[in-house]
Point group: C2
Chain length 454, copies 2
């Protein structure tokens, strides 16, 4: 059977450029910088994610025989080049922020240094993973922030952009602070707690709602959260209370009720009242259905007695900002710093480091983008880009997900709250070091001179 | 190595429901209907996609030993049930619209009839594929419509939601009428033409832009479209013209120039003028950079001399509508028609067929959702749901992509143009047959009576 590798998951131009580099003998060391330009509406920080998938990809990077055969069939590549390509592995170095690091526009989150062909052909895959996963982790972090300590579960598997995306969304959500996912395969692969009880179809498969509740609690006497909105929510709560009392007599406890439609603030309060009146103060009210950070924040602000939120589609596709303007730019070739001049997208030349500078009380004050090798701009400033791959091999084991999750929670505590406002947050200050600024000016001047004769 | 199957790529509640069905002996035949509710802003029709991946999934559906072991580890499933689950295969029937069929809100695009547990546990995967791929195919169809015959290529691989999504996006785009993709693996897997030349980094790796152009045309004398906006677009066009003349002397022809930033209307016109003045009337101007159907339509309306468009991110994530409100609802259980009553989301009971009714001149006039087995509402009305799977096996071979593409193009020609307006299109009429309406009223009355005592 034909087998194409992920090395082939690249834009054709990466490979045509590779052949042109190869034929021109342009085979020197290149450094590329991956960063995000600006912010979509309502975003004021990013949560970097996608690194583990990137490192996996780099470690196994290799064109298969079928890949090469397909490229040959296109009739535009030199045979000698194809033979060279078949032997290419990724032998470069990678410095990157850890997954779950809070980061900001224009900051390199990852830098690759490798022979230019290796560093070039991986562009598409690296941008894909970093952009997608950072988009999702950032959105999820906003939901967690809006929930103010109430539990959040990922219910997005049915609406993500494909099956692979469903797994990554669950993982990014967990790093961002979700408590669980409904996605069983993600639970198995990443060790994330899984949650879930029943859908409307379950209720409808039985003659009556209360029969469906009884069938479910019979099968799961200790794990029953009953979905109450199939026919009429408050009527459903009354049925749940009746079944809850039956459970009690058998020595079990009803866990909760879930509302998936309607006015969640109103129905949440009324459901709570009915449960309390029946003596079910420990039976939780859970909500789902079209939720995002804005709606969760509203419900929390109105003190709706909802204990946990299931967030699906809108978080899982980052509906209000489904992509970021990411870039993977050549910043140095053969020890020569370079940049892209045109339009409003001038990039920063040279290999870099990002420093995070704490202020009084250890809250973050600002970041400084500096040249690699520069001294820290302040005593307690922490460098964010770490060596993660050397000569094509990981230099550190993948950290446990729980560690990334705790680290992010700690970072967000140190980010002053004004930068975490869901809307209208001011820009966190990101400075360019004087050395980098000077280099930038020199390179721009030289380019203008050389290219435009100015 | 641990190996989890895609059967596990499901919401946990599908499996808890399955155990509850199993313990209650609720094991009858169920029919589920998959449909899209309403339209996102600016959508007036859908292009159904995702069927082939759904059928692949159903044919190979089987929990692996590791899947079962993981479920066991959760400590909430009965051992006997897990043993039952290990033997479950999909043995049901599927009726569906073909991929690339134009469809509308509320119309079932797919109906599954199977023992309830089989039909239930596949919900998450089916919704995921149908929703995502229909979202993308619909967006791509709008871009093609806006381009009015100019060529369109998918450049989205770097910004889709993961690597798997990049492949599906290229495939959906091709069905919708794109001419090519930059995604090499998608080209290899699906036989889609691939395109691409160079990125800004290629220009920057050389000392000067013109040296980079020469290196590229040297490597690909017959396939060179030169990227002209790295430093200054019109200056870049002049360099391209110089290299084009050198190519001519060697007996080759420059293919085109690509502009990836700035005011595309202005730069497109100016580039055309410079090329024409140099006698390069056959050298095309291609554009990319943040394009979507709205921007392409504007450029086409203004008669910008751009011959082809590369559309990336905004089409590849369907940025203005990154998801659809899809549903997979139980419509019949053990020969009893059922529906969900509450909220504003009442579903249509019973197994169905969708008829497309042509008017004079063979343009589409309306659709009718009818009960399965009903007579066609008009002589020339065509049924849209076809048998595609019987007892778990495909009944038809996957049609070639080009066939789906041509079929869609033909359908869109028959859809009156007012329904294809990018903005403000009226609603295409979708009627409910009198039989279905009557059944609906009966089921609602019976449910109100039984559940709410009304």
């Amino acid at each position: 059977m034909t087998s194409y590798s992920d090395a082939l998951l690249t834009d054709l131009y990466e490979l045509t450029m590779a052949q042109a580099y190869w034929r021109s003998g342009v085979m020197g060391q290149a450094t590329f910088s991956l960063f995000f330009r600006g912010y979509p509406k309502d975003r004021s920080y990013y949560v970097f994610a996608g690194l583990e998938d990137i490192l996996d990809y780099l470690e196994r990077f290799q064109f298969s025989d079928d890949d090469i055969e397909y490229l040959r069939s296109l009739g535009r590549f030199d045979e000698e080049f194809l033979q060279y390509l078949a032997d290419v592995r990724f032998t470069g170095d990678v410095r990157a922020m850890r997954e779950g690091t809070v980061c900001f526009a224009d900051e390199p989150v990852l830098e690759v240094r490798a022979p230019i062909i290796e560093a070039q052909v991986i562009e598409t895959y690296l941008l894909n993973q970093a952009t997608f996963q950072t988009t999702i982790a950032t959105k999820a972090s906003r939901v967690v922030s809006a929930a103010h300590g109430r539990s959040v579960a990922d219910f997005g598997a049915r609406r993500t952009h494909g099956a692979d995306a469903a797994l990554k969304v669950a993982r990014c959500g967990y790093i961002a602070g979700y408590n669980a996912t409904s996605n069983v395969k993600a639970g198995a692969m990443y060790g994330i707690p899984v949650v879930g009880t029943m859908a409307h179809s379950f209720i409808m498969a039985f003659d009556t709602e209360i029969e469906a509740f009884r069938a479910f609690t019979h099968a799961f006497p200790d794990y029953a959260t009953l979905l109450v909105d199939t026919y009429d929510t408050l009527h459903g709560v009354k049925n749940a209370i009746e079944v809850g009392k039956e459970l009690e007599q058998e020595g079990h406890v009803l866990r909760g009720v879930r509302i998936d439609s309607g006015d969640l603030a109103l129905l949440g309060r009324e459901s709570r009242r009915l449960l309390d009146e029946a003596g079910f103060r420990d039976v939780g009210v859970f909500a789902s259905g079209g939720l995002d950070e804005y709606e969760v924040e509203r419900l929390v602000r109105e003190e709706t007695p909802i204990e946990g939120y299931g967030v699906g589609t809108k978080a899982a596709v980052s509906a209000d900002a489904p992509y970021l303007d990411s870039a993977y730019k050549l910043v140095e070739y053969a020890s020569r710093p370079v940049l892209k001049l045109s339009s409003k997208k001038q990039s920063l030349a040279g290999c870099k480091q990002v420093f995070r500078v704490p202020g009084p009380g250890s809250l973050y004050e600002k970041d400084v983008i500096a040249l690699l090798g520069e001294d820290a701009p302040a005593k307690r400033a922490a460098p964010l880009l770490e060596d993660v791959m050397s000569e094509g091999a990981r230099t550190v084991d993948p950290p446990p997900l729980d560690q990334l999750r705790e680290q992010l929670a700690g970072e967000l505590e140190r980010l002053p709250s004004r930068y975490k406002a869901l809307r209208g947050a001011p820009r966190y200050p990101v400075e360019i070091s004087p050395h980098l600024k000077k280099l930038q000016q020199e390179v721009v001047r030289e380019l203008r001179d050389k290219e435009l004769g100015e």
